[in-house]
């Protein structure tokens, strides 16, 4: 009997026993749903962590020199926090000295940030991150300019009151009208809008497009940071190897400047995307170890259920098997009929599970700040696991059916 016939027959039988099929595939269904949904969320987190978090917030092959880390990956005790805020800030001189001491090719930028309100002709945008930065900041942060231009080094040194806006902020203040050349007020001081950054989207539900960047010495600097200090010096190198050299050099310079003895800890933080990604990789690894176990348990349960349902089905259809045998069905015809049936049942369950898993991932994406991205391999694995479970679960019932004696099977009363 050809495969196509067998599958068609299986689908007919499944259709005729909708309830029974629905019950028998619950295990496979749950397993595959779980697999797809969890893998999608993990994959989404992965994309976010590597592309957005590491690429945008910290920058590729970049370190930040700060008073204390911006992203905490472990538990921060009260005591740690108190020691952190007692540390000296990063001064202009620190930043300049570090930049000058690094021997590998690099670009650097200063960054200071605070939250405040922007105004355009009486319209207010509250809680906006206002950043005072130097000209290479856009490059290191990998933020392309969508319209207008970024500011120049000359404008930075002159403290020109110009500003580059994030996408969402532009929308809010200008509502689709042209923003270039207009003046927005930060703390009552007018700034000319010279550019817009490309839309960045969300990270964990927080918009990445609500910011305004102005020049490092602009008047806004006064409320962003005390005079003469920056939040961070950002240094970007061409490769990871060079980054490590740059970090070592920066650390050496800073320790000398702070007069730290070898026994003393750093009184500054050097932060890279690696630290954050390492932490994420740890979570990821735990999930990926736990996931197969959880999926396997539901699939084993699913296989046992399917096997029992198939045994019942063989018993109920003993007469049908006898009839088929009397009409010339060979053992392998009966065997493949029941194997295909059990594989089809399980695959249908897995396919529904894939659908539900995808819906779950979409729901997570829409309703929670967690990003979810479907991994195509998880769909393939899900369907293949379903079919595999069906075949394994079908072997014993199908071989029992195939071995039935046609004479007694055909006389079997049901």
């Amino acid at each position: 009997m050809q495969m196509f016939e067998a599958v068609r027959l299986a689908l007919q039988t499944i259709w005729a026993n909708k309830m029974k099929t629905a019950f028998s595939v619950i295990g496979v269904f749950i397993g595959v749903t779980f697999l797809i949904a969890v893998v999608s969320v993990v994959e989404g987190m992965n994309n976010y962590m590597t592309d957005r978090f590491a690429g945008t917030l910290l920058g590729v092959n970049t370190f930040h020199l700060r008073r204390f880390p911006n992203f905490q990956t472990g538990e921060v005790t009260e005591e740690m926090w108190r020691s952190w805020v007692r540390r000296p800030r990063i001064s202009y001189e620190d930043a300049t000295a570090v930049s000058e001491a690094i021997t590998v090719p690099h670009v650097s930028a200063w960054e200071s940030a605070n939250r405040t309100t922007l105004e355009y002709r009486g319209k207010l945008a509250r809680d906006i991150e206002v950043i005072a930065a130097t000209e290479r900041w856009f490059e290191i942060r990998n933020l392309p300019i969508a319209a207008g231009r970024a500011f120049s080094g000359q404008e930075v040194r002159a403290g020109t009151p110009v500003v580059v806006l994030g996408w969402e902020l532009t929308e809010r203040l200008f509502e689709g009208r042209d923003a270039l050349g207009k003046e927005v007020k930060i703390q009552g001081i007018p700034y000319r809008v010279i550019g817009m950054v490309e839309k960045q989207g969300n990270l964990f539900g927080i918009s990445l497009d609500k910011f305004a960047v102005t020049t490092a010495y602009a008047p806004a600097k006064r409320f962003v940071n005390p005079p003469g200090v920056v939040d961070a010096l950002m240094v970007q190198t061409n490769s990871l190897g060079e980054l490590q050299i740059a970090i070592a050099e920066a650390e050496a310079v800073m320790r000398t400047r702070r007069h730290l003895r070898p026994s003393e800890d750093n009184t500054f933080a050097i932060e890279t995307a690696d630290a954050v990604l390492d932490f994420w990789a740890k979570i990821n690894r735990i999930l990926m170890i736990a996931l197969p176990g959880l999926v396997a348990i539901s699939l084993v349960v699913g296989a046992i259920v399917i096997m029992n349902i198939m045994l019942m089905s063989v018993a109920e259809r003993t007469r049908e098997i006898g009839i088929r045998k009397s009409l010339g069905a060979r053992r392998r015809d009966i065997l493949s009929q029941f194997l295909v049936e059990s594989a089809t049942i399980a695959t249908v369950g897995a396919a529904v599970g894939v659908g539900t898993g995808l819906a779950g991932a979409a729901l997570v994406n829409a309703a929670t700040p967690l990003p979810a991205a479907v991994a195509p391999w998880s769909i393939l694995v899900g369907v293949a696991l379903g079919a595999g479970v069906g075949i394994v679960a079908g072997i014993y019932p199908a071989s029992r059916a195939a071995r039935l004696d046609p004479i007694s099977a055909i006389r079997h009363e049901t």
Binding site: Q12, T13, I323, S326, L327, G328, R330, I410
Partner: protein, 233 residues
């Protein structure tokens, strides 16, 4: 090909069953020759071995001893799968209880032997429709067995038995579940088929049904008791 060519040649056919510690001899050495286009009724009281003989002739079972040639091929020593192929190609069964698949349409029921013969779907449908037409059920092709009368179900079963052009039509009490009017109808179909050249072997315990056959073989205690030719074939 002559009309006296033997379809079935049986020599010393014996079948024992183990019933616990006891050994039951259902057939004790049956010799039987059936030429092409014969219409044979097998009779006998229950326990006489007629069902056992039917199962052996129908290749559903293999003998303990003795030999059986079907179309000059010895089938008494064949494996399961070879027997399945012989059943598929050479034998058309008609059962007392019809034995149709309840969920399948008449057409699909008739198609079944062709599926196992590996016939393509298009050819299969055409041949099944033709077989249903031969038994006068062309207009019932898409009905399920529970939408058909007993006589119609048995005619679907006959169509199914004929669809592979078997060497023998093997009927086991074909009218056992039918009233006398319907029985007569089925017998008319059998007579027609016989006239068209079909070899028919029919197990029955009813004299008036056996009367349709041209030869009556009576079994008793696992042996042929009498073998009478009633009409010239």
């Amino acid at each position: 090909m002559t009309s006296t060519e033997l379809i079935i040649r049986v020599r010393g056919l014996t079948r024992d069953y183990e019933m616990g510690a006891e050994r039951v001899q259902a057939l004790r050495g049956v010799d039987l020759d059936i030429p092409r286009n014969e219409y044979v009724a097998v009779m006998g009281p229950s326990g006489s071995g007629k069902s056992t003989l039917m199962n052996l002739i129908g290749c559903l079972d293999t003998p303990t001893a003795g030999q059986y040639w079907l179309n000059a091929t010895e089938v008494s020593r064949m494996t399961d799968d070879d027997l399945a192929r012989v059943r598929n190609r050479e034998i058309g069964f008609v059962f007392q209880t019809f034995n149709l698949l309840p969920r399948a349409t008449a057409l699909h029921n008739v198609e079944l032997p062709l599926i196992y013969a590996g016939v393509s779907a298009r050819v299969r449908r055409a041949r099944a429709a033709h077989a249903l037409d031969r038994v006068g059920l062309a207009d019932r092709a898409h009905h399920r067995p529970n939408e058909l009368s007993g006589g119609q179900r048995q005619r679907v079963a006959i169509a199914r038995a004929l669809v592979n052009d078997p060497s023998i039509l093997l009927a086991d009490e074909p009218t056992g579940n039918l009233d006398s009017a319907t029985s007569a109808e089925i017998m008319a179909v059998f007579n027609d088929l016989h006239r068209q050249g079909q070899t028919i072997i029919m197990v029955t315990h009813e004299q008036d049904i056996a009367a349709h056959a041209h030869r009556v073989v009576t079994l008793h205690d696992g042996r042929v008791d009498s073998d009478t030719i009633r009409h010239a074939a």
